[in-house]
Symmetry: C2
Subunit: 161 residues, 2 copies
Amino acid sequence: MANDQHGQDDGVWLYCSNSAIRRAARRLGQLYDGAMESTGLKGTQFSLMTQIRRAAEPTLKELAEAMVMDLSALGHTLKPLIRDGLVELFPDPRDRRAKRVRLTPEGLARQQEMLGLWQQAQERFDAALGTKQSQELRRTLAFISSQEFAESFRHLEARDT
Amino acid sequence: MANDQHGQDDGVWLYCSNSAIRRAARRLGQLYDGAMESTGLKGTQFSLMTQIRRAAEPTLKELAEAMVMDLSALGHTLKPLIRDGLVELFPDPRDRRAKRVRLTPEGLARQQEMLGLWQQAQERFDAALGTKQSQELRRTLAFISSQEFAESFRHLEARDT
DNA sequence: CATATATAGTGGTATATGCCACTAAATTCA
DNA sequence: TGAATTTAGTGGCATATACCACTATATATG
């Protein structure tokens, strides 16, 4: 309210989807991390472990794609989990370039333990935002995360000058 | 399609708002960073500089709150910009604990230079997602970023066991 | 088959972000 | 006023994330 004197920049503030999604992601990270605090793991680590479990021994490449994450970023992110014995890598027998990922028994136990906390956090999220809006949001975010969206965005590049 | 055998975890994958927003934020970061690549600065840095400009010499605390960012994280994030002479800190004359932030002349020039690239990126985003959905998304993200949302979420804590 | 090219991962470097412990300064309160 | 408390920032450490250069392996091609 006190800072409207720069109209040209308010446009960015209000309309920049990239800024907006980052702000919201920071907020949500704080809230979810708080909810999972007692487990000593972060929301991001829970997501990663959950996807590893879900994806049945994916290669690093496959996992990175599913997470919409750079392959090397994934490698770095996995290191603490490997160090702590929650996740392990093993070579793909058919392709010696590839490595596959799985939860260790302890990793699986921790993931299951976190599931309850996650569910509580998710219920609180839905309650705070409203179930309908929450569903709508996830649909939109899933589309933005898709390869299809990235291609649309990139193909618009040539004609927007 | 090939990975539905873990029904209990598909729930997390599909419904976890925290995972979903991070995936989308990573994707969007890639796309916006690509659009601003020629300036040598990232989308996050553009957002930060824009908010600094908009907020008329805020204290670090005020800026951190506006960015929904931890104060110390803000301090770290500002360092490259200060090092490169785009942003400067100066003491608040009334409160010697506080420091205020502003763009340097060069910082202002860079921010203005990036504005055009940002606008192109934002137009591509709106075109790829649809104007209506895009507006709706920003409204929702703004609410999630709000203090009010954080309080709602936290107040639900006591009763969700 | 031998070489050219494409693919999967790793390690380095840089930014992004958060928590904690600590310092300095302001404010409160006995 | 002087001690206790609160507030603003800093620095250290840890995770999150990206890009680049490099290695090893696989595939394609002449």
